[in-house]
Structures are given as C-alpha cells and as structure tokens.
Symmetry: C2
Subunit: 383 residues, 2 copies
C-alpha cells in the first residue's frame, strides 16, 4: 500500500498540506486517491456489516473484538450512559439558542472537572475515558436539548443495545426503528476516523504537551465546530432542502456555479478521485428515503451530484448524503455536527493516546512577515 503511494501535490488552500507531522498506525486516507483504511482494514469491507461498537473498539483498543469482547464492551459502554448531576446542572445553564457544539465542548470540559483523568496518564485509563465520552456525548447533547427546548429533564439510561439506538431513543423519546439504528451504525462508522484532519490534529497538538484526554477532546470539538470542517453536513442539508423540485435545484445550482459560488458538500482536501464513503452513505440515504416514501431531498441531492460532476468534475464527500440520511431519521439539522462528535471521538481518543506514546511536543515555526526592529516609543511620546 505505502509502496504504491502516488505523489500528491500539496494543496495551496491547506497549510502543511502533504507535510508529515507525525507517525500513525490508525488510519490512511486516499493512498490510491479514493480509499480509506482504519488500522489496515478497508472501510468498504465493514462499513455496512459491522456495528459502530466494533469499529470503536478497533480504533480505541487496537483490534477487532471477538464476540465475547464485543458483548463485554457494549455492556461497559451501556454503563457509561448516565452523566453526573453536576454536569447536568452545568448543561441546564446553557440557553436554547446555544450552538450545540458549544454545549458539547462545555459538557466535555465540565465532565473533565468532575471525573478527571488520573495523573499518571496510564493507557488503559485513557482508553476508558475515551469509551466513556463516546458513550455519554449523546447523553450530554440530548439532556441539554430536551431541557432547553422542551423544558424536560430526560432519563439518560435506556435499555438500547447500542450507541446508535441510545441516541435515537433519547432524541425521539421512543424506541427507534431497526432500519434507523442500522443507518446510524453506518454513519457513525464512516465518520469515526480520518487521519490528521484538523480536529484530530488539534487533539494531537494538545496531547503533545501531555495534557489530559478531556482537553484533547474539547480541542477536537472546537475545531470540528468550524464551517470548513464538521459544519459541512448542516450546510449541505440547507442546500438540499432549499428546492421544491429537481429541476429547480439543477437550474439554481448551475446559476450559482456560473457565479463561482462554492457548493458545500463537494470536494475534499485529501481525496483526489472520489470520497469512498459517498457510495456507502448514498445507499443509506436512498433506502431511508424509500422507506419514508419521501424521495424529493434524495433526488435533489442525486441530481446535484451529477451536475457538479458534469460541470466541475467535483465529487460529493461524506457530508452530502449524510445530510439526507439524518434528515430522513428526523434528526434536527443542528444536531448533525454533534453526531459527528460522537463518532470522531473514537479517532480523537486513539490519536491522543498515540501522540502521548510518540513523546514529542508539536511546535512548528512560522514565517515572519511583520515589521522588524521597531524602536519602542514611551507612552507619553506616542501619537
């Protein structure tokens, strides 16, 4: 695989593009232009057959679990669903208008005060904290959501077998459809890990000072929050819901392209041929739409995919049909990026732990472009 690595041109819109900032055994992205491997396994081999918990285990605990390990792991994750009362009180202070990513960032940081990492930073404990956060991020989000939006203090403990089911159950306050749970597994798996993307790299920079897991995670959330990163699936959704028909969508997008408008949900800083996750999530979006007998959004997204390819040779990334999928599961748009957090927390944790083992602080240089050798003028002589 590494030997077949093609020479990639660094992208001008990306700082440190193509520069190796460290070693990893967790992931490769786009080695052949359109492939993605987690710890050596091609995502196309498992994305539709595995449960998210299997892949979380692979990323955090470094191997695929056998049946017994998976059963034990899921039981452990289930036991992590509730959050301390102090964190609930913190979440209750955050107004309805708050960006849900700010809620995630604050909930994570507060949990780090109530249940801090042990000072010796041993690896099993760091893995456990990562598991805890992966299992309870949905709880935090939905506790705040129902409290701030519906004035309701929900119970965070459910009998659902998986993180996917638990999330949908808490959100809709009823046991979820099996097809939706399945769709959520696929989505969480696809969003789980992506090498040195900006949020993971932020987590690694923080980890490199030997800070704690919670600090790495809050940094990851902060970076993912940006519209150039995790916010893209929410933007894609807004585009797809803008139109009353496929024809209207096509006409409008052609017009926008003529005006050089950037269409969110297309292209990628690393993949050159296509995003391998697109074909997987597109089928999920399609099947959910058929089941709901509600094809307009999917058809619009599908048409815009063709138009973007015909006109610009740009391919949709994971965000494009994730938007359709989440919308079909009646997930409010503003919760899309928080779901990304639940998934990617597996990758952030794995990378934070790996960076600690690497033992180097990340401290690049800068190119200085400012004024040089100015003479300091005392206050009373300044104009």
């Amino acid at each position: 695989m590494a030997s077949a690595k093609p020479i990639k041109k660094p992208k001008k819109s990306v700082a440190l593009s193509g520069t190796e900032a460290g070693n990893t055994a967790i992931c490769t992205v786009g080695i052949t232009g359109n492939d993605l491997h987690y710890r050596g396994y091609d995502i196309l081999e498992f994305a539709t057959v595995a449960e998210f918990e299997e892949i979380a285990y692979l990323l955090i605990h470094e191997k695929l679990p056998n049946r017994q390990e998976l059963t034990d792991y899921k039981a452990k994750l289930k036991s992590y669903r509730d959050i301390p009362q102090a964190v609930k009180t913190v979440l209750e202070q955050l107004p309805k208008e708050t960006n849900p990513m700010d809620v995630m960032r604050t909930g994570c940081s507060a949990l780090g005060c109530i249940q801090p990492e042990e000072r010796d930073h041993n690896k099993p404990n760091a893995q456990k904290l990562t598991d805890k956060l992966v299992a309870s991020f949905g709880s935090m989000m939905l506790y705040w959501y129902h409290y701030s939006h519906h004035d309701k203090k929900i119970n965070l403990v459910t009998d659902d077998d998986t993180i996917a089911g638990h999330f949908l159950h808490l959100l809709h306050q009823k046991p979820p459809r099996q097809s939706w749970i399945k769709a959520m597994h696929v989505s969480l798996i696809l969003y789980a890990e992506h090498e040195f993307n900006a949020s993971t790299f932020a987590a690694r920079v923080i980890s490199s000072t030997l800070s704690d897991i919670y600090s790495c995670m809050t940094g990851g959330i902060g970076a993912l929050r940006g519209p150039k990163h995790g916010g893209a699936n929410e933007e894609a959704c807004k585009i797809q819901l803008r139109y009353g028909s496929v024809q209207e969508a096509e006409k409008d997008i052609r017009q926008r392209m003529a005006n050089n408008e950037i269409i969110i949900g297309f292209g990628h800083p690393v993949y050159t041929v296509s995003d391998p996750r697109n074909v997987v999530i597109k089928k999920v979006a399609h099947d959910l739409s058929v089941e709901n007998n509600d094809m307009l959004m999917f058809d619009v997204a599908d048409k815009l995919e063709s138009v973007m390819w015909d006109e610009k040779k740009m391919f949709p990334n994971l965000d494009w049909f994730s938007a359709v999928s989440y919308h079909q599961m009646h997930i409010p748009t503003k919760l899309f990026t928080p779901i990304f957090v639940i998934a990617r927390a597996t990758g952030w944790g794995a990378h934070a732990i790996e960076q600690r083992e690497e033992g180097k602080i990340i401290r690049p240089s800068a190119l200085y472009v400012g004024d040089e050798e100015l003479a300091f003028v005392p206050l009373d002589q300044r104009k």
Copy 2:
C-alpha cells in the same frame, strides 16, 4: 532581522521543529538565539516600563496605544470584569480538587455559550471577545477559587486600575501592594506571546476551520495545561521549595543530574543561547524577595541556575524565576498556570484572528507505520 536568521537545527524531541506552518506578523522568537520581539518591538525595551494593558493592546489591536487610547482601553477592560450569573453557577459545580486549568477551560467554554461570538466573525468583535476574556479570566478563576476553597461568593468588580491589580485584589481580598502590581505587569508581559508554541498553534489549528474565538481559547488552555508546556512554572516552584539551604539544593541537584533526571525550568525548544526573559524576571524575583526579607527561595534558584550552567550549559527559561516571583506574592502554586492563561490569551486571540485572515485550513499528513491491507474478518469468525 530576518536576513540575519541563522540556520537552526530541528530538534528531534519536537515534531514539525523548524517547519513553517504559516505566516505571522505577531512575534519572532530567538532569531539571534536569545531575543523575543512582539510585533517588531524587542521585549527588553518595554518589559519593565510598560503596563500589561499596553502590550495586550499591541498584540490584539496591532499598535501601541497612545495615552488616550490606553485610558479608554483600560476603562473598557474594567467593564468586562464581571461574568454572567450562569457562568458563576457553572463554576460553582466544579469541586475544590479540580485542576484550576480545567476550571479555566470550562469557564471559557461556558461563557462562549452565554455570550457567543457573532456568526459573521467580524474582526472588531473577535478583538472585543479577546479583550473580554483577558479581562475576565482572572475573575472566573478567583470566583471558583474562593467559592470552592473558602465557601465564599466574591464580588468580581473592583476599582483597581489594571488586570494585574484586579487579580491580586481578588486573590488576597485586599488592595495589593504597588510593588506586587508592578511585578505582575512584568510577568504578564513576558508570558503574553511566543509565536507558534504548542498552545498558540492549537488555537490556530482550531481557528483554521473558521471556528469561534472561544473554541480557540479553550484549545489553547487545554494545550497549556500539559506539563511539557504551561505546567513548568508550578514544577519549578516545587523544586525550589524543596530545600532548607542553598548547600542542600546544590548537593541534591548534582546528585539528580548524575542520575540523568530532567530539571524542569531549564532549556527551551527554540532559544539556543539563553531565554531573554530570564534576566528580566530574575530581577523581579530578587526585588520581591528583598522586600519580603525572604531570600532562601531566590538564593536556591540562583545557585541552581549556576550549577545547571556549569554542569550542563543549560539556561533557565521564564518559568524558573517566575515561580519565585509568584511565590513571593503569596500566590498559591496551583494558580501559576492560570496566570499564564490570562497573559497568553492576548497572543492566542491575536493568532486566532490572524489565522482566519490567512484563510487556510491546517491539515498536515501523517507517516503511516501500521498494518497494511488486513482482511476484515466477520465477527463470528474472530478468535
């Protein structure tokens, strides 16, 4: 200055050492081996004559303020001292045992929920938020400190003229000595900015996704928390307080060096000759010690400086005599790194704003060192 730039060898213990990760007009570090410039001004020209607010203005608002601008700026900062009741309630949830850096991270994140950045991310507003955080970080810290340690809800509004005075007043709950205020100005100025150090770089990675100022700041706090970064002044303090005499200190440190123990507070990933801030903070530490008629800690630190130079040719960094200075002002050791936050928040804010203007996402590559092309084994066939 740039033309005189010597070729520096990348350090093996530092990832991306010597690699330019972006442009900056804010700072240069160690161009001649032992100099530090903020926006073109040599810190040695202003560190002992300026107020911290002048330098905060220089970093955040990109020029030295004249008398009127400084007066207006200080009045504005003064008006930012109080924090919303919701943030106070959040801080009240955090136990006494919490790492104060986790408190800072959580308070900052919570404030970002209550008073979020405007969506258009305009520069004057980003500068204002940076000012607000610089002015209120001390309030957050000391509100939590007195509440959790002394069961006291302190008033955060004081009449002190400066951030330095406000901090000392809130901490000690009485108007501070002029000499201590002066010492605090020097210390805050020296800690304010340091180019692409790990915490600032974390803030820039987060900013590069176009995330908000609060996310950049929480990332900065998370990175600074690590013992390889901001935690060093607290470690230095513990070393210096360990000894009952200068002789005992010298003997013990020689023994530890013989055992290859790393002595925190010495050496630096960028400076090669000396840390230019040391001579400045050393005088502050000396004068405060003389005033307190309490020379032991200073004398120990001074002796260890000579021993480290004689034996290892290692020089003390800013943290070494900062520890003595803070201790002489009766600041609890665990609040040393939070003071670093108050100071460095000026640099983080300036860099976050600059990174936005740069317009690039920071997304390096990794060197893959893991397993390749593993075949996915279905769950029931795994051993």
